[in-house]
Symmetry: C2
Subunit: 484 residues, 2 copies
């Protein structure tokens, strides 16, 4: 009986704690100055004396930010649906992370940072098991840690290319001629291999990753790149449920384009070692495709022995209501490589065993990850499980979509193409100028947000975002719409 009481109290506590939002003292946004405010402007001017800061929204006061609310130096408080470009899983100053920071292991790994490829720590295996390996995608049992999204993508490409060449030559061991010629940037050691990418894709900004990125010209112009093929990503009509037939036709055309691009490239001797794709194209404007499209893509890639690399740097970590967005696809067999970063606090990729190079020093660098962040990531996953944050994300995502849908009905000349999975939502405006205006007005009303694509606004709230936050966001957007 006593135990039963205890359990029901635990249950009640869990229920209450799942309702709390960890927002500290904040219950709604509060903006009392222009945005950016005078102190932000002053501090940005100081920063401009030593670095480039034209892209700063304002200057943040992180110590006074809590949960879903971001404070700035002028005393303004914003409901944050951008969350440092989708990279703070539990919002600001989450108590579980404050506590995790007191672990001696954090200090140990920060001040004795290992070169993991040479000198792993005695704690490394357990740290990986308690953090990243808990969320390994089914069938992808191997892991390479890295530090950021771009280097995760760069190294995933390398792993796929090493595997492709091993298959081509029938052995993972390079020939002497290959070892010799690669030092002169010549074939066969430096092979004519490429990666297939998609229109509007974003995979990072280092020179390999940037060659795969096709979202915005200002990211690419004046920088050399690899002349690799690019297939058309589906341009679907929203809501998806109202345009099933048209969308299916568009996806079929795009899959045919994939096949054609691979055949053309292989025929001219520039072999396609793999394709990389985002489950929802994020920087490129929240472009969706159906599970059938991704299944079809996997099937074509398999046919050509090309690796299927899923870039979950932005979609991974729970925002779509499943931990990995590709879990929505019901694939017959797992992807070959999955890249991650952002909400995962550091970077890396999961892969099938075939994509682990047999020889050392092929995928290697000084740090090969950032172990201190694994201690925090363990705490993130503990909270996600304890508080049922995937379920919460599905619910608050539904609420957000419903609210945005309501705005689309009321203001169809301003809010269009509302779309999303979980809280990974967005909508478009008719023009870039209108989007920029709306985004800026919404910020003035206390919604820290960010655009993507040419004319969309994306929602990337924390996993602790609730239905009531969704309502506040929608209300602010409506105010901003009325300002236009």
């Amino acid at each position: 009986m006593q135990r039963k009481n205890f359990l029901s109290q635990v249950k009640l506590f869990r229920h209450l704690s799942s309702l709390t939002t960890d927002d500290g003292p904040y219950v709604k946004p509060y903006v009392k100055t222009a945005v950016p405010g005078p102190l932000s402007i002053e501090k940005i001017a100081k920063l401009n004396e030593i670095s480039h800061n034209s892209t700063a929204h304002f200057v943040a006061d992180y110590a006074n930010s809590h949960g879903n609310y971001l404070a700035d130096v002028d005393g303004n408080v914003y409901l944050d649906v951008l969350l440092q470009i989708s990279s703070i899983p539990l919002g600001y100053n989450h108590p579980a992370l404050v506590e995790a920071m007191s672990s001696p292991l954090v200090t140990n790994m920060m001040i004795n940072r290992p070169a993991l490829g040479m000198l792993p720590a005695q704690e490394t295996y357990d740290m990986l098991q308690e953090s990243l390996m808990r969320v390994r995608p089914k069938g992808m049992d191997y892991l390479q840690t890295m530090m950021c999204g771009s280097c995760s993508v760069e190294n995933a490409l390398k792993a796929a290319m090493i595997k492709y060449r091993a298959d081509q030559r029938g052995t993972p061991i390079p020939t002497d001629l290959e070892l010799d010629s690669c030092m002169r940037q010549e074939a066969p050691g430096m092979p004519d291999l490429c990666f297939l990418t998609f229109t509007s894709a974003f995979h990072g900004r280092t020179l390999g990753a940037l060659s795969l990125t096709r979202s915005k010209a200002i990211h690419k112009v004046d920088i050399p790149g690899f002349k690799w093929p690019c297939a058309k990503f589906p341009e679907l009509k929203y809501p998806l449920t109202d345009h099933v037939t048209k969308n299916k036709e568009e996806e079929a055309r795009c899959l045919e384009d994939v096949r054609q691009k691979i055949v053309e490239s292989n025929e001219k001797g520039l072999y396609v070692a793999g394709a990389i794709i985002e489950p929802i194209q994020s920087e490129g404007g929240d472009n969706h495709a159906s599970p059938e499209f991704f299944q079809g893509l996997q099937s074509i890639l398999t046919e050509f022995n090309a690796a299927f690399v899923v870039d979950e740097v932005q979609t991974g970590g729970g925002a779509t209501g499943k931990f990995w967005a590709h879990e929505h696809w019901d694939l017959p067999t797992p992807p070959d490589i999955l890249t991650f970063s952002k909400k995962m606090l550091s970077g890396g990729y999961f892969c099938k065993k075939d994509f682990l190079p047999e020889q050392g020093y092929r995928i290697f660098n000084t740090w090969m990850g950032d172990p201190a962040r694994l201690v925090l990531l363990k705490a993130v996953f503990d909270v996600m499980e304890r508080d049922g944050l995937l379920e919460r994300t599905r619910k608050s995502g539904d609420k957000l979509l419903e609210g945005l849908g309501g705005l689309e009905q009321k203001y169809p000349d301003i809010i269009q193409d509302v779309r999303g999975v979980g809280t990974f939502c967005s909508f478009s405006c008719p023009t870039a100028a209108m989007r920029d205006k709306l985004s800026s007005q919404a910020r003035k009303h206390g919604l820290e947000n960010g655009g993507n694509g040419n004319r969309s606004i994306r929602f990337r709230p924390a996993l602790i975002f609730t239905e009531s936050h969704a309502q506040i966001a929608v209300d602010i957007l409506e105010k901003a719409v009325l300002d236009l």
Copy 2:
């Protein structure tokens, strides 16, 4: 009088503290098992179940490592002259870093990690001034923070290319045609620009950086790269003082090669936007060149409006006895860009104002650095100043060179070409096989070390390395030589 006593006590304390080595309980190495020991082997086998670990020396016990001494899980203790590939400036568990970790700012920046390009923190300016800006090279007043060496190099290339194109077109603003064509990986938006590199260079392993890396085939084979020009790095004879004339001739030939490579490349329309070079080629085998060589290089690059990028990822941070290795060159004007990482705890580059792009989002990514590490870096610089670690490094480097020189005289068939500046020292063996054997034997005697180039061993001790550590290292090497 009282004040005088106090001051002399402070002086005495400072003197004593400059003699302490922060090595905790350790006074010498102690190896009681095979290397790797049984527990290391067991733990590496576990790690192999989820990742690739063929390059692990052994499994470290970082909590029990102190100062210059690295402990392993089998209870062995090594004098560490590799220090996580040259990346731990003050050795293991330095008390000043333990203390710095208790700063609320570390917790703040770890758990509320800013997307610095969009939302700098109110502390950002002061944090930069108290850490990186304290060591900015003369005449390089601007800073872009990054996270690792490879991404620092990749972004330095981009900054140099953006500047070169702005000069070519006479304005930093790209044309519509350029913006349009770059999205199809076509000229003029994706320009025919290249970077000049040098034989045996190492600049990282992402695809842009890897194109500049010419040190080892296993790093490059099977990976596509840019077909950029490569000039010959001087192959000098050591000791430098005994071969002045021959070495001058070699450097003159290499400078002529630089000029010829630039002319050839520019003539065929692949314009050389810059050259990147290490002050001492590190991964490539500790290859030195004279100040006059670098002065000559700068002069040629200036003539062709090509950026002079100095890669101090490994040489920077004090190991050569000056904070930056290029300070040894007495250049008439500063380099254009300087990349750093490793001992600087995170990454980035310093540059002249011309190399800061005028428009936003051109040099950009989610995190753009790792502010928590700046708090630790401030503590590193405080200790370096308090304890006079540059001076200590010069002294212990002299001692190390003298000891290695003695071994070269005694064992000229095994220890050759002893060379170095500060503690940034190395020597070569006649063959790779002998080097590998010697390195492994030295580790068994308690010297954690690493090879570089084809047949060299490099010293990359911490800045707290003293003359007595140098003596221990030399004594162990002699034991290892006698084992051969």
